[in-house]
């Protein structure tokens, strides 16, 4: 894992002190809310429906045990005893007092964390594959480049007042678990014919009210050219992105309006016009960072673990969890443990301070001191020995963390919605809770298999409904919440935007509608076929008939 050196420490410390001064000026009345707003936003502090919300950056979703423990401490000391992990691998605290914020930022700085650029029209926290460094299919760990981008984008003087927010996602594996095609910039590491690694650079993906899949601007960018090339893209966007309408200001609109070809030629012209003197320092810096991400000292183990197999045979609940929540590790005898923060009836992505400490302790004892936050709002222990998995599971179960629904119907992505968010038009959390209760029966979920149900409480799509296999969008019609359903979305390497099923549904009807959609799927699927494949084969029509004919 990356560790701050003296420079990183000093940088965050200075920024924290700067904010302490700004918050004090606001509290004393010297500064108006209007003037304070852009300053607090650049430090991750929002004003929500009921209180201030602080969004803390978890760069590329990676945490040490010490950091996770500190997040738990902050939840207990300054919030109501819990925090909310987000689809951008961050954590949000929803009940923050302005006068505490500087102390919280200080507590974060103590464990090499911050809230810089988790908000505002700037380059946001870089996200990546939550199985990075552990996945069996990976070409290279994308996190060193994530750290390089974190540093380069931090308080970038040229790109801190962009037309709109800007999100970059990176994957180092052919299977895209980072949703790179629905980001402003998506980067995919791959190898060319001569075996060199380089980036496919995709631009202009996004969700919100105008969902779009990114277009490829460069098929193969040599690794060392990444930072100067990103600068060229950012400069073109900063100069030509629309500023007349906030809803048309993302880079996807620019790419769409001028066309991929023209956009590409603008970027290449800018890149050629100001060639960087040398990329040697960037290469050295990347090498320095990469050393921090070297593999932990894995033991040489057999692929077969008798303890693990025995536990599976004798404990059906453990066996079910192991089937659903473990993923293949690149080293024999190790596995990736996915902790679902989606226990039936609970709020997706929420964890209590106590749960954070439990997960931190487990990571310290059994996962080389590492945890990850996934964009599906779950926590990952990336490097667990098969021999230890049963012990880990028992501990998780004691603390309500052993839901065995990873990747299944209960593993729902949901934004905070109208329960917290000032932009929301409808509630998302109660819908997620109701659906997960409806599918609480593990066997039913397993029969249905892999399914991504994503819920957003407004058109801004923080709950990624456009790319859910089943997407649910909460809207407001004459003061009543109603919910529009989309089918067939995906954020994978074969990304697609969902298609609207038909007229929306009342709040209380949603779980039944979802149930019926999945029943239709079970009836019509070919053996072994997943929901998305069935949908892509048969289209929206049979689902439409099943839902609206009955009504």
């Amino acid at each position: 894992m990356y560790r701050y050196d003296e420079f990183d420490h000093q940088f965050v410390r200075e920024r924290t002190e700067q904010f302490r001064d700004q918050a004090a000026r606001r509290l004393s009345g010297e500064m108006s809310e209007d003037e304070f707003r852009p300053l607090r936003l650049m430090n991750g502090l929002y004003l929500q429906l009921h209180a201030y919300m602080l969004r803390v950056a978890i760069p590329y979703g990676t945490l040490s045990s010490r950091q996770m423990r500190q997040l738990g401490y902050i939840a207990d000391r300054w919030d109501k005893g819990y925090g909310h992990f987000t689809t951008r691998q961050n954590i949000q605290y929803n009940w923050i007092k302005l006068e505490d914020t500087a102390d919280i930022l200080k507590a974060l700085a103590d464990v090499e964390m911050h809230a810089i650029q988790t908000s505002g029209n700037c380059i946001r926290n870089v996200t990546t594959d939550h199985w990075a460094g552990a996945a069996a299919d990976e070409i290279a760990d994308p996190r060193p480049v994530g750290e390089l981008i974190r540093q380069w984008s931090s308080l970038h003087p040229e790109f801190s007042f962009l037309p709109r927010k800007f999100k970059i996602a990176i994957t180092g594996a052919p299977t895209d678990r980072a949703a790179v095609k629905v980001h402003d910039i998506g980067l995919r590491l791959h190898r060319n014919e001569s075996g060199e690694a380089g980036w496919e650079v995709m631009v202009g993906g996004g969700q919100g009210r105008t969902p779009m899949i990114a277009v490829t601007v460069r098929e193969f960018l040599p690794e060392k050219e990444l930072i100067p090339y990103l600068e060229a893209i950012m400069r073109v966007y900063n100069l030509y992105g629309r500023r007349d309408n906030k809803y048309k200001a993302r880079i996807k609109i620019l790419v769409h309006e001028i066309g991929a070809e023209k956009f590409r030629s603008e970027v290449e012209a800018e890149y050629a016009r100001h060639p960087q003197q040398t990329t040697e320092v960037e290469e050295r810096e990347l090498a320095r960072i990469a050393a921090y991400f070297a593999d932990p000292r894995f033991e040489k183990l057999s692929r077969f673990s008798p303890q693990f197999e025995d536990a599976r045979r004798t404990n059906p609940a453990f066996a079910r969890w192991a089937t659903n929540n473990l993923a293949t590790h690149k080293k024999d005898g190790y596995t990736i443990v996915n902790i679902s923060l989606k226990a039936p009836g609970e709020i997706p992505g929420d964890a209590t301070g106590e749960q954070m400490r439990v997960m931190a302790d487990l990571a310290e004892a059994f996962s080389h001191d590492e945890l990850r936050v996934s964009h599906a709002q779950n926590i990952v222990l990336p490097h667990v020995k098969l021999n230890d998995v049963y012990t880990v599971w028992q501990k998780l179960a004691e603390h309500g963390l052993a839901a065995s629904n990873h990747g299944l119907a209960g593993d729902i992505i949901a934004c905070p919605g109208l329960d917290y968010c000032s932009l929301a038009t409808a509630r998302s959390i109660p819908i997620a809770q109701a659906i997960s209760r409806r599918f609480a029966d593990d066997r039913r979920q397993e029969e249905i298999g892999n399914i991504k149900i994503n819920i957003s409480g407004c058109i801004n799509a923080c709950g990624h409904h456009h790319v859910g296999h089943i997407g649910i969008l909460g809207l407001d019609k004459a003061g009543e919440e109603y919910y529009q359903i989309t089918l067939g979305g995906s954020s994978s390497e074969k990304a697609s935007i969902g298609t609207i099923l038909g007229p929306g549904f009342a709040h209380d009807d949603v779980p039944d509608v979802i149930y019926k959609i999945l029943e239709t799927y079970l009836k019509l699927r070919s053996p072994g076929e997943e929901f998305l494949a069935t949908y892509r084969r048969i289209g929206v029509k049979p689902f439409k008939e099943a839902i609206y004919a009955a009504a």
Binding site: Q18, N238, Q277
Partner: protein, 176 residues
């Protein structure tokens, strides 16, 4: 409006001519980009120094042929959140423009250091903030991760410092 330069308020010795205003022997004048192109042959023969006021939207306008003759480029910030002029400033400096670069419009102290870093050196600021606020704002951060910046207030480039033996990016020539 005070003019901020090198952390002090100074008098503006440039005369900013409207498009229909005649040149009358002033030592330093700025004109709009349109007038610069239109009257170039006349303007370039003036004995004094010549500057130009750009919009932040004139994308087809190629300033490069005129740059070596210019003593001042003024870039606007119509709103403090409109960041286009940061990139235009960076482009001008990368293209080799060495004379004075001035920011005008909505400028807040918390943006001053960013503007200095991309190559601005004078600022039309409001009277709302005392000089001390600007002086303090100019050195809010002592470090920057990005290379190739102007380090007028002495901030260190982290990557260059980490990898000793590499000189920081060649210090770009600087006005003022």
């Amino acid at each position: 409006m005070p003019l901020l330069k090198n952390n002090a308020f100074v008098a503006d010795d440039w005369v900013h001519l409207a498009d229909d205003e005649a040149v009358a022997g002033q030592a330093k004048v700025t004109v709009s980009a349109e007038r610069l192109v239109r009257d170039w042959d006349e303007l370039v023969r003036l004995p004094g120094l010549l500057g130009v006021r750009l919009a932040n939207t004139s994308r087809e306008f190629d300033l490069n042929p005129f740059l070596p003759q210019l003593g001042l480029v003024v870039l606007p910030f119509p709103a403090f959140g409109d960041g286009r002029s940061y990139s235009i400033a960076r482009q001008l400096r990368l293209d080799g423009y060495q004379s004075e670069l001035r920011a005008t419009g909505n400028i807040l102290p918390d943006q001053l250091q960013f503007m200095l870093q991309v190559g601005f050196d004078t600022f039309d600021v409001t009277e709302r903030f005392p000089l001390e606020a600007w002086q303090k704002a100019s050195r809010q951060m002592s470090l920057a991760y990005q290379r190739g910046l102007f380090r007028k207030t002495g901030e260190r480039e982290v990557w260059s410092e980490r990898h000793q033996g590499f000189a920081p990016w060649e210090e770009q020539p600087h006005a003022g």
